[in-house]
Symmetry: C2
Subunit: 313 residues, 2 copies
Protein backbone atom coordinates (compact mmCIF):
# COMPACT_ATOMS: atom_id res chain seq x y z
CA UNK A 1 0.00 0.00 0.00
CA UNK A 2 1.11 3.52 -0.84
CA UNK A 3 -0.01 6.99 0.22
CA UNK A 4 -0.73 9.61 -2.41
CA UNK A 5 -1.38 13.24 -1.43
CA UNK A 6 -3.03 15.75 -3.76
CA UNK A 7 -2.09 19.25 -2.63
CA UNK A 8 -4.92 20.96 -4.53
CA UNK A 9 -6.05 24.55 -4.60
CA UNK A 10 -9.36 23.62 -2.92
CA UNK A 11 -8.70 20.44 -0.96
CA UNK A 12 -5.84 18.56 0.56
CA UNK A 13 -6.63 14.91 -0.22
CA UNK A 14 -4.80 11.87 1.11
CA UNK A 15 -5.45 8.50 -0.55
CA UNK A 16 -4.40 4.94 0.22
CA UNK A 17 -3.49 3.32 -3.10
CA UNK A 18 -2.69 -0.33 -3.78
CA UNK A 19 -0.12 -1.66 -6.24
CA UNK A 20 -2.76 -1.98 -8.98
CA UNK A 21 -3.58 1.74 -8.78
CA UNK A 22 -6.90 1.40 -6.95
CA UNK A 23 -7.72 3.99 -4.31
CA UNK A 24 -8.80 2.05 -1.19
CA UNK A 25 -9.77 5.05 0.92
CA UNK A 26 -9.49 8.82 0.96
CA UNK A 27 -9.53 11.54 3.59
CA UNK A 28 -9.60 15.25 2.91
CA UNK A 29 -9.79 18.75 4.34
CA UNK A 30 -9.94 22.20 2.76
CA UNK A 31 -6.62 23.68 1.65
CA UNK A 32 -5.85 26.64 3.87
CA UNK A 33 -3.71 28.95 1.80
CA UNK A 34 -2.26 30.89 4.70
CA UNK A 35 -1.59 28.07 7.13
CA UNK A 36 1.99 27.78 8.39
CA UNK A 37 3.86 24.70 7.13
CA UNK A 38 3.86 22.88 10.49
CA UNK A 39 0.06 23.09 10.68
CA UNK A 40 -0.24 21.80 7.09
CA UNK A 41 2.03 18.89 8.00
CA UNK A 42 -0.23 18.26 10.98
CA UNK A 43 -3.26 18.12 8.64
CA UNK A 44 -1.48 15.73 6.29
CA UNK A 45 -0.44 13.35 9.07
CA UNK A 46 -3.95 13.40 10.56
CA UNK A 47 -5.53 12.72 7.13
CA UNK A 48 -3.04 9.92 6.48
CA UNK A 49 -3.98 8.26 9.77
CA UNK A 50 -7.69 8.75 8.99
CA UNK A 51 -7.32 7.26 5.50
CA UNK A 52 -5.38 4.28 6.86
CA UNK A 53 -8.14 3.65 9.38
CA UNK A 54 -10.86 3.90 6.72
CA UNK A 55 -8.91 1.50 4.50
CA UNK A 56 -8.27 -0.91 7.39
CA UNK A 57 -4.55 -0.65 6.76
CA UNK A 58 -1.77 -0.52 9.37
CA UNK A 59 0.84 2.21 9.19
CA UNK A 60 3.43 -0.56 8.88
CA UNK A 61 1.88 -1.69 5.58
CA UNK A 62 2.48 1.68 3.89
CA UNK A 63 5.58 1.52 1.71
CA UNK A 64 5.91 5.14 0.60
CA UNK A 65 4.43 8.61 0.77
CA UNK A 66 4.04 10.59 -2.46
CA UNK A 67 2.99 14.22 -2.94
CA UNK A 68 1.47 15.63 -6.10
CA UNK A 69 1.82 19.37 -5.86
CA UNK A 70 1.75 22.36 -8.16
CA UNK A 71 4.93 24.37 -8.47
CA UNK A 72 8.52 23.58 -9.33
CA UNK A 73 10.01 20.81 -7.25
CA UNK A 74 13.52 20.78 -5.91
CA UNK A 75 14.20 17.05 -5.99
CA UNK A 76 17.46 17.30 -4.07
CA UNK A 77 15.92 19.19 -1.17
CA UNK A 78 12.53 17.46 -1.32
CA UNK A 79 10.82 20.84 -1.30
CA UNK A 80 8.55 22.90 -3.50
CA UNK A 81 10.38 25.97 -4.83
CA UNK A 82 7.26 28.01 -5.63
CA UNK A 83 4.11 26.56 -4.07
CA UNK A 84 1.16 28.50 -5.58
CA UNK A 85 -1.56 26.97 -3.36
CA UNK A 86 0.23 27.25 -0.02
CA UNK A 87 2.85 29.99 -0.47
CA UNK A 88 4.21 29.49 3.06
CA UNK A 89 5.34 26.01 1.98
CA UNK A 90 7.89 27.54 -0.44
CA UNK A 91 11.25 25.84 0.11
CA UNK A 92 9.89 24.10 3.24
CA UNK A 93 11.64 20.71 3.73
CA UNK A 94 8.45 18.74 3.13
CA UNK A 95 10.16 15.42 2.46
CA UNK A 96 12.38 15.45 5.54
CA UNK A 97 9.59 16.63 7.85
CA UNK A 98 7.26 13.85 6.77
CA UNK A 99 10.08 11.33 6.91
CA UNK A 100 10.80 12.28 10.53
CA UNK A 101 7.30 10.94 11.35
CA UNK A 102 6.97 8.12 8.81
CA UNK A 103 10.32 6.43 8.26
CA UNK A 104 9.52 5.45 4.66
CA UNK A 105 10.48 6.93 1.27
CA UNK A 106 8.78 10.28 0.60
CA UNK A 107 8.47 11.58 -2.99
CA UNK A 108 7.43 14.92 -4.45
CA UNK A 109 5.98 15.06 -7.96
CA UNK A 110 4.55 17.97 -9.91
CA UNK A 111 0.75 17.61 -9.90
CA UNK A 112 0.38 17.58 -13.69
CA UNK A 113 3.01 14.87 -13.91
CA UNK A 114 1.26 12.92 -11.17
CA UNK A 115 -2.06 13.12 -13.06
CA UNK A 116 -0.39 11.88 -16.24
CA UNK A 117 1.19 8.97 -14.42
CA UNK A 118 -2.13 8.08 -12.80
CA UNK A 119 -3.94 8.04 -16.17
CA UNK A 120 -1.10 6.01 -17.70
CA UNK A 121 -0.99 3.51 -14.85
CA UNK A 122 -4.66 3.01 -14.11
CA UNK A 123 -6.81 5.25 -16.31
CA UNK A 124 -7.44 6.15 -19.92
CA UNK A 125 -3.97 5.10 -21.06
CA UNK A 126 -3.60 1.96 -18.94
CA UNK A 127 -1.32 -0.59 -20.57
CA UNK A 128 0.10 1.89 -23.10
CA UNK A 129 3.83 2.12 -23.71
CA UNK A 130 3.78 5.88 -24.14
CA UNK A 131 1.34 8.68 -23.37
CA UNK A 132 1.19 12.41 -23.18
CA UNK A 133 -1.42 14.09 -21.02
CA UNK A 134 -2.54 17.68 -21.24
CA UNK A 135 -4.79 19.10 -18.53
CA UNK A 136 -6.85 22.05 -19.76
CA UNK A 137 -7.41 24.15 -16.66
CA UNK A 138 -6.38 27.62 -15.56
CA UNK A 139 -3.15 26.82 -17.37
CA UNK A 140 -2.15 23.73 -19.32
CA UNK A 141 -0.66 21.10 -17.10
CA UNK A 142 1.19 18.30 -18.81
CA UNK A 143 2.97 15.06 -18.24
CA UNK A 144 4.80 12.60 -20.43
CA UNK A 145 5.05 8.89 -19.65
CA UNK A 146 7.51 6.82 -21.67
CA UNK A 147 8.07 3.11 -20.99
CA UNK A 148 6.21 3.35 -17.72
CA UNK A 149 8.25 6.27 -16.37
CA UNK A 150 7.64 10.01 -16.19
CA UNK A 151 9.86 11.99 -18.55
CA UNK A 152 10.76 15.11 -16.57
CA UNK A 153 14.16 16.08 -17.91
CA UNK A 154 17.57 15.65 -16.27
CA UNK A 155 16.75 18.44 -13.79
CA UNK A 156 13.15 17.26 -13.16
CA UNK A 157 11.53 20.51 -14.35
CA UNK A 158 10.59 19.47 -17.91
CA UNK A 159 7.28 18.45 -19.51
CA UNK A 160 6.14 22.09 -19.49
CA UNK A 161 4.26 21.71 -22.75
CA UNK A 162 1.91 24.60 -21.95
CA UNK A 163 4.90 26.89 -22.22
CA UNK A 164 5.85 26.10 -25.78
CA UNK A 165 5.37 29.03 -28.13
CA UNK A 166 2.88 28.37 -30.93
CA UNK A 167 2.13 32.00 -31.80
CA UNK A 168 5.46 33.80 -32.20
CA UNK A 169 5.20 37.24 -30.55
CA UNK A 170 1.67 36.40 -29.42
CA UNK A 171 -0.08 37.08 -26.12
CA UNK A 172 2.21 37.68 -23.15
CA UNK A 173 2.50 34.74 -20.80
CA UNK A 174 3.40 35.10 -17.14
CA UNK A 175 6.35 32.77 -17.75
CA UNK A 176 8.00 35.66 -19.62
CA UNK A 177 7.52 34.31 -23.15
CA UNK A 178 5.02 35.48 -25.75
CA UNK A 179 2.52 33.21 -27.49
CA UNK A 180 2.68 30.17 -25.19
CA UNK A 181 0.19 27.44 -26.03
CA UNK A 182 -1.51 27.72 -22.64
CA UNK A 183 -2.42 31.38 -23.27
CA UNK A 184 -4.77 30.17 -26.03
CA UNK A 185 -5.67 26.54 -25.36
CA UNK A 186 -6.23 26.49 -21.57
CA UNK A 187 -9.63 27.18 -20.00
CA UNK A 188 -8.34 30.72 -19.37
CA UNK A 189 -7.52 31.00 -23.07
CA UNK A 190 -11.01 29.86 -24.02
CA UNK A 191 -12.50 32.40 -21.60
CA UNK A 192 -10.37 35.17 -23.14
CA UNK A 193 -11.45 34.16 -26.67
CA UNK A 194 -15.10 34.06 -25.54
CA UNK A 195 -14.93 37.52 -23.98
CA UNK A 196 -13.24 38.94 -27.06
CA UNK A 197 -16.08 37.59 -29.22
CA UNK A 198 -18.78 38.88 -26.87
CA UNK A 199 -17.34 42.37 -26.92
CA UNK A 200 -17.39 42.30 -30.73
CA UNK A 201 -20.91 40.79 -30.85
CA UNK A 202 -23.22 42.54 -28.40
CA UNK A 203 -26.29 40.73 -29.78
CA UNK A 204 -25.01 37.16 -29.62
CA UNK A 205 -26.56 34.38 -27.56
CA UNK A 206 -23.29 34.27 -25.61
CA UNK A 207 -24.65 37.17 -23.54
CA UNK A 208 -27.71 35.10 -22.56
CA UNK A 209 -25.50 32.36 -21.18
CA UNK A 210 -23.06 34.75 -19.50
CA UNK A 211 -24.81 38.05 -18.72
CA UNK A 212 -21.50 39.74 -17.89
CA UNK A 213 -17.93 39.25 -19.03
CA UNK A 214 -17.07 38.21 -15.46
CA UNK A 215 -19.64 35.40 -15.70
CA UNK A 216 -17.88 33.79 -18.68
CA UNK A 217 -16.34 30.41 -17.95
CA UNK A 218 -14.93 27.51 -19.94
CA UNK A 219 -18.44 26.19 -20.70
CA UNK A 220 -19.97 29.41 -22.09
CA UNK A 221 -18.88 29.09 -25.73
CA UNK A 222 -19.59 25.36 -25.92
CA UNK A 223 -23.06 25.91 -24.43
CA UNK A 224 -23.84 28.70 -26.90
CA UNK A 225 -22.54 26.64 -29.82
CA UNK A 226 -24.77 23.72 -28.76
CA UNK A 227 -27.73 26.12 -28.93
CA UNK A 228 -26.85 27.16 -32.47
CA UNK A 229 -25.21 30.49 -31.67
CA UNK A 230 -22.87 31.39 -34.55
CA UNK A 231 -20.60 33.53 -32.37
CA UNK A 232 -20.32 30.66 -29.88
CA UNK A 233 -19.54 28.24 -32.72
CA UNK A 234 -16.85 30.59 -34.04
CA UNK A 235 -15.21 30.75 -30.60
CA UNK A 236 -15.25 26.96 -30.29
CA UNK A 237 -13.78 26.54 -33.80
CA UNK A 238 -11.01 29.01 -33.05
CA UNK A 239 -10.30 27.40 -29.68
CA UNK A 240 -10.13 23.98 -31.34
CA UNK A 241 -7.64 25.34 -33.89
CA UNK A 242 -5.36 26.49 -31.09
CA UNK A 243 -5.79 23.27 -29.16
CA UNK A 244 -5.17 21.13 -32.25
CA UNK A 245 -2.06 23.14 -33.15
CA UNK A 246 -0.35 22.14 -29.90
CA UNK A 247 -1.69 18.59 -29.93
CA UNK A 248 -0.41 18.19 -33.51
CA UNK A 249 3.00 19.41 -32.32
CA UNK A 250 2.99 16.80 -29.56
CA UNK A 251 2.03 14.03 -31.96
CA UNK A 252 4.85 15.00 -34.34
CA UNK A 253 7.34 15.01 -31.47
CA UNK A 254 6.27 12.03 -29.40
CA UNK A 255 3.94 9.91 -31.56
CA UNK A 256 2.60 8.57 -28.25
CA UNK A 257 0.28 5.61 -28.22
CA UNK A 258 -2.29 7.72 -26.36
CA UNK A 259 -2.69 11.46 -25.93
CA UNK A 260 -4.99 12.11 -23.05
CA UNK A 261 -7.00 15.30 -22.50
CA UNK A 262 -8.00 16.17 -18.93
CA UNK A 263 -9.11 19.19 -16.92
CA UNK A 264 -12.37 21.11 -16.85
CA UNK A 265 -12.65 21.60 -20.63
CA UNK A 266 -12.42 17.83 -21.18
CA UNK A 267 -15.91 17.56 -19.66
CA UNK A 268 -17.23 18.74 -23.04
CA UNK A 269 -16.58 15.16 -24.20
CA UNK A 270 -17.27 14.42 -27.88
CA UNK A 271 -18.03 18.09 -28.66
CA UNK A 272 -14.35 18.67 -27.91
CA UNK A 273 -12.84 15.32 -28.83
CA UNK A 274 -14.27 14.59 -32.28
CA UNK A 275 -13.42 17.90 -33.98
CA UNK A 276 -10.03 17.85 -32.23
CA UNK A 277 -9.26 14.40 -33.65
CA UNK A 278 -10.31 15.53 -37.15
CA UNK A 279 -7.96 18.52 -36.96
CA UNK A 280 -5.01 16.53 -35.61
CA UNK A 281 -5.44 13.90 -38.32
CA UNK A 282 -4.89 16.64 -40.89
CA UNK A 283 -2.18 18.43 -38.93
CA UNK A 284 0.31 15.71 -37.99
CA UNK A 285 2.41 12.97 -39.53
CA UNK A 286 0.36 9.82 -40.02
CA UNK A 287 1.54 6.23 -39.99
CA UNK A 288 -0.10 3.81 -42.45
CA UNK A 289 -1.47 1.73 -39.56
CA UNK A 290 -0.49 2.91 -36.09
CA UNK A 291 -1.51 6.37 -34.93
CA UNK A 292 -1.91 8.17 -31.63
CA UNK A 293 -5.32 7.74 -30.05
CA UNK A 294 -6.66 10.93 -28.51
CA UNK A 295 -8.79 10.18 -25.44
CA UNK A 296 -10.55 12.02 -22.64
CA UNK A 297 -9.00 11.38 -19.22
CA UNK A 298 -11.04 8.95 -17.12
CA UNK A 299 -9.91 9.34 -13.52
CA UNK A 300 -10.64 13.00 -12.74
CA UNK A 301 -8.93 14.19 -9.56
CA UNK A 302 -8.11 10.63 -8.54
CA UNK A 303 -5.41 10.53 -11.25
CA UNK A 304 -3.26 12.90 -9.22
CA UNK A 305 -3.55 10.80 -6.05
CA UNK A 306 -2.74 7.54 -7.83
CA UNK A 307 0.13 9.17 -9.70
CA UNK A 308 1.54 10.81 -6.57
CA UNK A 309 1.44 7.45 -4.79
CA UNK A 310 3.04 5.38 -7.53
CA UNK A 311 5.03 7.58 -9.96
CA UNK A 312 8.34 7.34 -8.14
CA UNK A 313 7.91 3.88 -6.64
Amino acid sequence: MYIGVDVGGTNLVVGIVNGEGDIIAKAKCPTDTIKPPKAVIGDILRLAAEACEKAGVNKAEIKSFGFGTPGTIDFEKGAVINSPNIPLMNNFPLRDTIQAEWAIPVYLVNDANAAAFGEAFAGSAKGCESMVMVTLGTGIGSGIVLNGKLMMGFNHIGAEIGHTVVVLDGWECNCGRKGCWEKYASASGLIALTREKMEANPDSKLWEIAPTLEAVDGKTAFAAAAQGCSAGKAVVELYLDYLACGVGNLVNIFQPQVLCIGGGISNEGDALLLPLIARVEKGSFRHPKNNTEIRIASLGNDAGIIGAALAEV
Copy 2:
Protein backbone atom coordinates in the same frame (compact mmCIF):
# COMPACT_ATOMS: atom_id res chain seq x y z
CA MET B 1 32.30 -4.50 -35.18
CA TYR B 2 29.24 -2.96 -36.77
CA ILE B 3 28.46 -1.56 -40.21
CA GLY B 4 26.82 1.84 -40.53
CA VAL B 5 25.56 3.11 -43.88
CA ASP B 6 24.80 6.78 -44.55
CA VAL B 7 22.40 6.99 -47.50
CA GLY B 8 23.12 10.65 -48.21
CA GLY B 9 21.97 12.93 -51.00
CA THR B 10 25.53 13.19 -52.36
CA ASN B 11 27.34 10.06 -51.25
CA LEU B 12 26.58 6.56 -50.15
CA VAL B 13 29.05 5.94 -47.30
CA VAL B 14 29.67 2.65 -45.53
CA GLY B 15 31.64 2.69 -42.28
CA ILE B 16 33.04 0.01 -39.99
CA VAL B 17 32.34 1.10 -36.40
CA ASN B 18 33.58 -0.48 -33.18
CA GLY B 19 31.63 -0.78 -29.94
CA GLU B 20 33.12 2.49 -28.65
CA GLY B 21 31.74 4.44 -31.58
CA ASP B 22 35.01 4.87 -33.46
CA ILE B 23 34.94 4.61 -37.25
CA ILE B 24 37.73 2.21 -38.23
CA ALA B 25 37.36 2.57 -42.00
CA LYS B 26 35.03 4.04 -44.60
CA ALA B 27 34.23 3.43 -48.24
CA LYS B 28 32.01 5.56 -50.43
CA CYS B 29 30.60 6.20 -53.86
CA PRO B 30 28.33 8.90 -55.29
CA THR B 31 24.60 8.47 -54.67
CA ASP B 32 22.95 7.78 -57.99
CA THR B 33 19.40 9.03 -57.65
CA ILE B 34 17.95 7.02 -60.54
CA LYS B 35 19.69 3.72 -59.96
CA PRO B 36 17.39 0.70 -59.62
CA PRO B 37 17.35 -0.82 -56.10
CA LYS B 38 19.30 -3.96 -57.03
CA ALA B 39 22.17 -1.88 -58.37
CA VAL B 40 22.15 0.25 -55.19
CA ILE B 41 22.27 -2.92 -53.10
CA GLY B 42 25.21 -4.04 -55.27
CA ASP B 43 27.01 -0.76 -54.46
CA ILE B 44 26.33 -1.15 -50.75
CA LEU B 45 27.63 -4.73 -50.63
CA ARG B 46 30.71 -3.78 -52.60
CA LEU B 47 31.42 -0.80 -50.32
CA ALA B 48 30.87 -2.97 -47.23
CA ALA B 49 33.43 -5.48 -48.49
CA GLU B 50 35.84 -2.65 -49.34
CA ALA B 51 35.43 -1.03 -45.89
CA CYS B 52 35.98 -4.40 -44.16
CA GLU B 53 39.16 -4.88 -46.14
CA LYS B 54 40.42 -1.37 -45.33
CA ALA B 55 39.65 -1.99 -41.65
CA GLY B 56 41.29 -5.41 -41.69
CA VAL B 57 38.06 -6.95 -40.43
CA ASN B 58 36.55 -10.28 -41.47
CA LYS B 59 32.90 -10.42 -42.54
CA ALA B 60 32.36 -12.88 -39.69
CA GLU B 61 33.33 -10.20 -37.15
CA ILE B 62 30.50 -7.87 -38.23
CA LYS B 63 27.57 -8.16 -35.84
CA SER B 64 24.96 -5.96 -37.54
CA PHE B 65 24.23 -3.70 -40.49
CA GLY B 66 22.53 -0.36 -39.85
CA PHE B 67 21.21 2.15 -42.36
CA GLY B 68 20.72 5.84 -41.69
CA THR B 69 18.40 7.11 -44.37
CA PRO B 70 16.14 10.08 -44.96
CA GLY B 71 12.46 9.37 -45.29
CA THR B 72 9.86 7.62 -43.18
CA ILE B 73 10.83 4.11 -42.20
CA ASP B 74 8.46 1.18 -42.10
CA PHE B 75 10.00 -0.77 -39.23
CA GLU B 76 7.85 -3.84 -39.78
CA LYS B 77 8.79 -4.18 -43.45
CA GLY B 78 12.36 -2.94 -43.05
CA ALA B 79 11.79 -0.51 -45.91
CA VAL B 80 11.80 3.23 -46.54
CA ILE B 81 8.29 4.48 -47.31
CA ASN B 82 9.38 7.66 -49.07
CA SER B 83 13.05 7.72 -49.95
CA PRO B 84 13.85 11.25 -51.12
CA ASN B 85 17.43 10.58 -52.28
CA ILE B 86 16.77 7.35 -54.18
CA PRO B 87 13.06 7.38 -55.06
CA LEU B 88 13.23 3.95 -56.68
CA MET B 89 14.03 2.54 -53.22
CA ASN B 90 10.53 3.47 -51.99
CA ASN B 91 9.04 0.45 -50.23
CA PHE B 92 11.91 -1.74 -51.45
CA PRO B 93 12.59 -4.54 -48.91
CA LEU B 94 16.03 -3.21 -48.02
CA ARG B 95 16.38 -5.15 -44.77
CA ASP B 96 15.47 -8.55 -46.23
CA THR B 97 17.59 -8.05 -49.36
CA ILE B 98 20.70 -7.22 -47.33
CA GLN B 99 19.95 -10.01 -44.89
CA ALA B 100 19.84 -12.52 -47.73
CA GLU B 101 23.53 -11.73 -48.31
CA TRP B 102 24.69 -11.00 -44.75
CA ALA B 103 22.88 -13.23 -42.27
CA ILE B 104 23.09 -10.69 -39.43
CA PRO B 105 20.58 -8.21 -37.97
CA VAL B 106 19.84 -5.31 -40.34
CA TYR B 107 18.38 -2.07 -38.98
CA LEU B 108 16.92 1.01 -40.64
CA VAL B 109 17.01 4.35 -38.83
CA ASN B 110 15.96 7.79 -39.96
CA ASP B 111 19.14 9.77 -40.78
CA ALA B 112 18.41 12.62 -38.35
CA ASN B 113 17.81 10.10 -35.57
CA ALA B 114 21.03 8.30 -36.50
CA ALA B 115 23.00 11.59 -36.31
CA ALA B 116 21.50 12.32 -32.89
CA PHE B 117 22.42 8.89 -31.61
CA GLY B 118 25.96 9.24 -32.98
CA GLU B 119 26.46 12.59 -31.21
CA ALA B 120 24.98 11.16 -28.00
CA PHE B 121 27.08 8.02 -28.11
CA ALA B 122 30.43 9.34 -29.25
CA GLY B 123 30.22 13.07 -29.96
CA SER B 124 29.22 16.35 -28.38
CA ALA B 125 26.80 14.74 -25.92
CA LYS B 126 28.87 11.66 -25.02
CA GLY B 127 28.06 10.42 -21.53
CA CYS B 128 24.86 12.46 -21.20
CA GLU B 129 21.66 10.90 -19.96
CA SER B 130 19.47 12.89 -22.33
CA MET B 131 20.02 14.95 -25.46
CA VAL B 132 18.09 16.53 -28.25
CA MET B 133 19.77 17.22 -31.57
CA VAL B 134 18.56 19.58 -34.25
CA THR B 135 20.27 19.59 -37.63
CA LEU B 136 19.88 22.88 -39.45
CA GLY B 137 20.00 21.96 -43.12
CA THR B 138 17.53 22.14 -46.00
CA GLY B 139 14.96 21.25 -43.36
CA ILE B 140 15.39 20.69 -39.63
CA GLY B 141 16.30 17.12 -38.85
CA SER B 142 15.97 16.07 -35.26
CA GLY B 143 16.58 13.24 -32.89
CA ILE B 144 15.93 12.67 -29.21
CA VAL B 145 18.03 10.35 -27.05
CA LEU B 146 16.73 9.48 -23.59
CA ASN B 147 18.56 7.08 -21.29
CA GLY B 148 20.75 5.91 -24.14
CA LYS B 149 17.89 5.10 -26.52
CA LEU B 150 16.31 6.96 -29.42
CA MET B 151 12.81 8.23 -28.64
CA MET B 152 10.91 7.71 -31.88
CA GLY B 153 7.33 7.17 -30.73
CA PHE B 154 5.37 3.94 -30.60
CA ASN B 155 5.11 3.88 -34.41
CA HIS B 156 8.75 4.95 -34.98
CA ILE B 157 7.87 8.12 -36.91
CA GLY B 158 8.22 10.66 -34.08
CA ALA B 159 10.94 13.19 -33.24
CA GLU B 160 9.80 15.44 -36.10
CA ILE B 161 10.59 18.60 -34.21
CA GLY B 162 11.02 20.63 -37.39
CA HIS B 163 7.32 20.14 -38.01
CA THR B 164 6.04 21.75 -34.84
CA VAL B 165 4.13 24.95 -35.49
CA VAL B 166 5.68 28.03 -33.87
CA VAL B 167 3.97 30.66 -36.05
CA LEU B 168 0.26 29.87 -36.13
CA ASP B 169 -1.02 30.35 -39.70
CA GLY B 170 2.53 31.17 -40.82
CA TRP B 171 4.42 30.14 -43.95
CA GLU B 172 3.08 27.04 -45.70
CA CYS B 173 5.16 23.94 -45.10
CA ASN B 174 5.25 21.03 -47.52
CA CYS B 175 4.10 18.79 -44.66
CA GLY B 176 0.68 20.42 -45.02
CA ARG B 177 0.85 22.58 -41.89
CA LYS B 178 1.43 26.31 -41.68
CA GLY B 179 4.17 27.95 -39.62
CA CYS B 180 6.39 24.91 -38.95
CA TRP B 181 9.64 25.71 -37.18
CA GLU B 182 11.74 24.40 -40.08
CA LYS B 183 10.23 26.97 -42.47
CA TYR B 184 11.98 29.68 -40.45
CA ALA B 185 14.91 28.13 -38.58
CA SER B 186 16.40 25.76 -41.20
CA ALA B 187 19.11 26.88 -43.66
CA SER B 188 16.29 27.27 -46.20
CA GLY B 189 14.48 29.53 -43.74
CA LEU B 190 17.59 31.65 -43.28
CA ILE B 191 17.99 31.89 -47.05
CA ALA B 192 14.35 33.00 -47.41
CA LEU B 193 14.80 35.63 -44.67
CA THR B 194 18.02 36.85 -46.34
CA ARG B 195 16.37 37.18 -49.77
CA GLU B 196 13.42 39.03 -48.27
CA LYS B 197 15.80 41.53 -46.66
CA MET B 198 17.82 41.94 -49.86
CA GLU B 199 14.73 42.74 -51.89
CA ALA B 200 13.76 45.40 -49.35
CA ASN B 201 17.33 46.80 -49.14
CA PRO B 202 18.82 47.13 -52.63
CA ASP B 203 21.87 49.03 -51.29
CA SER B 204 22.90 46.64 -48.53
CA LYS B 205 26.23 44.81 -48.36
CA LEU B 206 24.28 41.57 -48.68
CA TRP B 207 24.29 42.18 -52.45
CA GLU B 208 28.11 42.30 -52.47
CA ILE B 209 28.29 38.89 -50.86
CA ALA B 210 25.51 37.38 -52.97
CA PRO B 211 25.26 39.26 -56.27
CA THR B 212 21.95 37.58 -57.14
CA LEU B 213 19.10 36.15 -55.05
CA GLU B 214 20.01 32.72 -56.41
CA ALA B 215 23.53 33.09 -55.00
CA VAL B 216 22.22 33.48 -51.43
CA ASP B 217 23.13 30.62 -49.10
CA GLY B 218 23.08 29.97 -45.37
CA LYS B 219 26.36 31.89 -44.91
CA THR B 220 25.36 35.13 -46.68
CA ALA B 221 23.70 36.92 -43.77
CA PHE B 222 26.29 35.81 -41.20
CA ALA B 223 29.12 36.97 -43.52
CA ALA B 224 27.47 40.36 -44.06
CA ALA B 225 26.81 40.77 -40.34
CA ALA B 226 30.48 40.00 -39.59
CA GLN B 227 31.41 42.84 -41.97
CA GLY B 228 29.15 45.26 -40.11
CA CYS B 229 26.23 45.26 -42.55
CA SER B 230 23.11 46.36 -40.66
CA ALA B 231 20.73 44.50 -42.99
CA GLY B 232 22.79 41.33 -42.53
CA LYS B 233 22.77 41.82 -38.76
CA ALA B 234 19.00 42.27 -38.79
CA VAL B 235 18.57 39.01 -40.72
CA VAL B 236 20.82 37.14 -38.27
CA GLU B 237 18.94 38.59 -35.28
CA LEU B 238 15.58 37.59 -36.75
CA TYR B 239 16.86 34.13 -37.62
CA LEU B 240 18.21 33.70 -34.08
CA ASP B 241 14.79 34.69 -32.68
CA TYR B 242 13.11 31.95 -34.70
CA LEU B 243 15.80 29.42 -33.82
CA ALA B 244 15.67 30.30 -30.10
CA CYS B 245 11.88 30.06 -30.08
CA GLY B 246 11.97 26.38 -31.06
CA VAL B 247 15.02 25.61 -28.91
CA GLY B 248 13.25 27.21 -25.92
CA ASN B 249 10.24 25.01 -26.62
CA LEU B 250 12.48 21.94 -26.63
CA VAL B 251 14.13 22.94 -23.36
CA ASN B 252 10.73 23.45 -21.70
CA ILE B 253 9.54 20.04 -22.92
CA PHE B 254 12.64 17.89 -22.49
CA GLN B 255 15.05 19.77 -20.22
CA PRO B 256 17.75 17.62 -21.83
CA GLN B 257 21.23 17.58 -20.41
CA VAL B 258 22.55 18.66 -23.81
CA LEU B 259 20.90 20.22 -26.83
CA CYS B 260 23.12 19.80 -29.81
CA ILE B 261 23.05 21.93 -32.97
CA GLY B 262 24.31 20.36 -36.20
CA GLY B 263 24.01 20.93 -39.93
CA GLY B 264 25.51 23.55 -42.24
CA ILE B 265 24.43 26.55 -40.16
CA SER B 266 26.21 25.16 -37.09
CA ASN B 267 29.52 25.94 -38.84
CA GLU B 268 28.96 29.57 -37.81
CA GLY B 269 30.14 28.45 -34.35
CA ASP B 270 30.08 31.08 -31.62
CA ALA B 271 28.40 33.67 -33.87
CA LEU B 272 25.41 31.34 -33.77
CA LEU B 273 25.87 29.66 -30.40
CA LEU B 274 26.44 32.57 -28.01
CA PRO B 275 23.43 34.73 -28.98
CA LEU B 276 21.31 31.58 -29.16
CA ILE B 277 22.26 30.62 -25.59
CA ALA B 278 21.48 34.16 -24.36
CA ARG B 279 18.01 34.03 -25.94
CA VAL B 280 17.20 30.55 -24.63
CA GLU B 281 18.27 31.53 -21.11
CA LYS B 282 15.59 34.23 -21.20
CA GLY B 283 12.98 32.13 -22.99
CA SER B 284 12.85 28.87 -21.03
CA PHE B 285 12.34 27.55 -17.53
CA ARG B 286 15.55 27.64 -15.56
CA HIS B 287 16.66 25.41 -12.73
CA PRO B 288 18.63 26.98 -9.86
CA LYS B 289 21.64 24.83 -10.68
CA ASN B 290 21.20 22.34 -13.54
CA ASN B 291 20.37 23.64 -16.99
CA THR B 292 20.57 22.35 -20.54
CA GLU B 293 23.91 22.96 -22.23
CA ILE B 294 23.59 24.02 -25.84
CA ARG B 295 26.50 22.75 -27.91
CA ILE B 296 27.61 22.58 -31.53
CA ALA B 297 27.71 19.03 -32.92
CA SER B 298 31.23 17.65 -33.16
CA LEU B 299 31.13 14.65 -35.51
CA GLY B 300 29.85 16.12 -38.79
CA ASN B 301 28.72 13.47 -41.26
CA ASP B 302 30.36 10.72 -39.21
CA ALA B 303 27.56 11.06 -36.61
CA GLY B 304 25.09 9.47 -39.02
CA ILE B 305 27.36 6.51 -39.73
CA ILE B 306 28.11 5.85 -36.06
CA GLY B 307 24.43 6.26 -35.16
CA ALA B 308 23.25 4.01 -37.99
CA ALA B 309 25.70 1.34 -36.85
CA LEU B 310 24.87 1.45 -33.14
CA ALA B 311 21.41 3.00 -32.54
CA GLU B 312 19.46 -0.24 -32.66
CA VAL B 313 22.16 -2.55 -31.33
